[in-house]
Symmetry: C2
Subunit: 289 residues, 2 copies
Amino acid sequence: MLAVDFGGTKVEAALVVGDRIIDGTRTRRPTGPDRSAAELDAAVTEVVRGALGTATVTRVGIGTAGPVDTVRGLASPLNTPGWRDHPFRDLVATLVPGADIVLAIDGLAITLAEHRYGAGRGSDNVLGMVVSTGIGGGLVIDGRGISGANGNAGHVGHIQVSGYDDPCACGRRGCVEATASGPNSVRWAQSQGWEGSTGEELAASSDPRARAAIERSARAVGLAIASASALVDLDIVAIGGGFSRSAPDYLDLVRTAADEGFPFVRATHIVPAALGDEAPLIGAALLAG
Amino acid sequence: MLAVDFGGTKVEAALVVGDRIIDGTRTRRPTGPDRSAAELDAAVTEVVRGALGTATVTRVGIGTAGPVDTVRGLASPLNTPGWRDHPFRDLVATLVPGADIVLAIDGLAITLAEHRYGAGRGSDNVLGMVVSTGIGGGLVIDGRGISGANGNAGHVGHIQVSGYDDPCACGRRGCVEATASGPNSVRWAQSQGWEGSTGEELAASSDPRARAAIERSARAVGLAIASASALVDLDIVAIGGGFSRSAPDYLDLVRTAADEGFPFVRATHIVPAALGDEAPLIGAALLAG
């Protein structure tokens, strides 16, 4: 099984069997907001060829930053403007002729991995969530990975939160991603006079404005989780991503904010993701069956 | 098929075949916030007996205001405090011994009906939404009615909206129900100095403060729909309920507010529900198969 994971800063591919990445196949290239469509295509081509080597595969799973159009196999990753409605599935088809190829958002891939092998095992209603450069996610509901009309189910970062109205790259205001992602938390801390410039510095800082930015992020994430659970009645939210580890009590702060509503919403368990940085590739392989 | 629909102001039952209520079987009793558990039980007993008459049924579908616990068959309707974790399914089982009984939130019932017979026909990703005394809903995603961990999927009224922080009966602030329901819109208009007291008066009023309350409601509903569509990628939102008809352009105002985000969110079609006040009973019958 060939797994491909395309994100805002890098694209990776590997051969995957179950929850195991085959030694020596994992291949990575940078992506990023300044790359042209041709450069992004070249990066994908290189990682697919690097992962395949001389192997032959009949199935390929692609997880990509969204939005997507899974009906037509297109990707428009928010943080790589070089690709808009880009025929990602067809590109991979030219590299792996004859294979069955499934494309989905990366958040769904991660959630399938956590559901099968990680923090969501044993539950039928799981939100996998990544709090990092952006805020993404995916849904398993009633035991099944959820796609929605165009494959975009899981964009939890674009749920609004009450009490915030930060402008969001999606065009709205008050989305949890606009409020709570790493870079947006840094921006907010800077607006309060803090002088650092990265999420890592924010996490390490003893400045109360840095702490306030982390608390603000965690609160917004908790409020968004409560809205998501009101809408789809979640058992488990598995949170990963670097910024979710920006303070030892980050998840406690998230839980406090999520616990203000109905008993069924408060019953949602908020836990750390279990699989780490292999989850996107392991999950991409699950997409393909 | 016996269908039961329990809400904050009334409980109804009827015999239903497909999308047709059998003549003469529809029976109604009042419920309400002041009734005791025994009074609510009596109302249910009367409508079930009235609808059944001398008929025998093997399947019963119950739609109820939520929250619910469908694993245990319990209902805790927000607006009838007489019932908390009340064994609604078991109550009906004593009235219809031996029948297969399915209990779910009323919003899911309505959505199944709109999906099968109404405004959601032909789509696999539908949010049914009622804007009335409260704001409720249900979800069909990837062609299936969605339950979630405890049967509470569809509580769209308890998604937060940015820019509002009205206190909500669920315990949170800024939920769309707290901002945009009929009674809460009336309350907001009154806080601005408007002197009427019902949603009907608000709809009929030429006072600009009444119009502002309706615009505020529609905007909050649109923002909540956009968050819901970000999370589950909806094709169609079918909106019913009296307050959604409080102005001829209410749905246009909803659409304007919903159309600020991603293209896939803007692609969500917002339409009037098609089935009217029979939808809860027709949908309750669909719950039972």
